[in-house]
Subunit: 228 residues, 2 copies
Amino acid sequence: MPVRVIDVRERVMAQNDLIAAEVRQRLDDAGVPSLNLMSSPGAGKTLLLERTLADLAPSLRIATVVGDVQTQNDADRLSRHTSRLVHAVVTGGACHLDARQISAALDAVDLADTDLVFIENVGNLVCPASWDLGQTSDVVLFAVTEGEDKPLKYPKMFKRSRYALITKVDLLPYLDFDVERAIGYLRDVNPNIEVLLTSARTGQGLDEWYDILRGHVRHASHVAAESA
Amino acid sequence: MPVRVIDVRERVMAQNDLIAAEVRQRLDDAGVPSLNLMSSPGAGKTLLLERTLADLAPSLRIATVVGDVQTQNDADRLSRHTSRLVHAVVTGGACHLDARQISAALDAVDLADTDLVFIENVGNLVCPASWDLGQTSDVVLFAVTEGEDKPLKYPKMFKRSRYALITKVDLLPYLDFDVERAIGYLRDVNPNIEVLLTSARTGQGLDEWYDILRGHVRHASHVAAESA
């Protein structure tokens, strides 16, 4: 007897999309942009956020929601760089965050006292690409240690992302990674993707990253003020 | 109205387990061991297999089944190092290989003319850990560029693996990666896991890896001969 997986999956996805729309509305009304960071395990999401919190948390009020299959290691790391509560979601086996988890995390966030929300998704280039969380924009990180062809092999993730951060560029002298080829593959999959070359270790590219974040904050608060 | 995802998922998994058992029986009967390689994207599965085929294919008859979400890039890379057909499975969005795909691939393999089967799974530390493919043993690769705590964050994968290859050790001088701590985390999750330090670029650890492969080939053919 055949198994009707697709229908059930579609219903779960449809439920998720409804909750994601609610999350998006809630954030829009509050004038708070949110960025969903996705990547392979170990591409540098947490280190980027550690640096970002250390550098910007004094001037920006940043909320963070951190997903992992197991452990709250990443949330613990981030909590050292902010006085605000870090929200850890342990998925317990699930390969991605979903909108319900974000909604529950935001219930404990005072959005009127928040400029920006970061979501650090589960380290995985496949599954998170299928789940809307209500975020403003997607950011995909890929490390120069992973090889140039990741955009071609995981196109859905790179197609939906507004920004691609090529991370760990401080390691380029020790690798055969061809930056131009990687950017070419990124543009093949998503001609509009904005590409940054970054190293959270040396700080390369972080000023550009921070400008993007500040632009999101200005834009979201402006839009909310207009519609209020 | 609640959605009964679990039941359907369990039925799909049960179907998969039945097919995996058939695959395992087929391989056991033929005296052919199979190794399922899993890791994050870009941890070095393909480069390890390229080197392995280049070094061993003259003496061992190796069949390869390569899974990717998109592209047959990895299969193309492997095909340069073997005269045998490389079997590419494009999952088209699915985050793991399943037993049906392995069974279909093996239909085109003459097992009587094969010493060893490699399965290169989709680059993902989460989903492939839940799917039995009928393999003899699981091999997990994790690169020194990914950070020491991957075994703690993706424990299911590391628990089921018989071997852990810590890859790209040639990059250790340029990283803060603590090998002893990583091995400690591996053993916390799986006290019996066999750990190899490898670099497919310099060749470090590959002799030990090849000894493991030859041991599997000898053992499987011996067991098949005994039971014949």
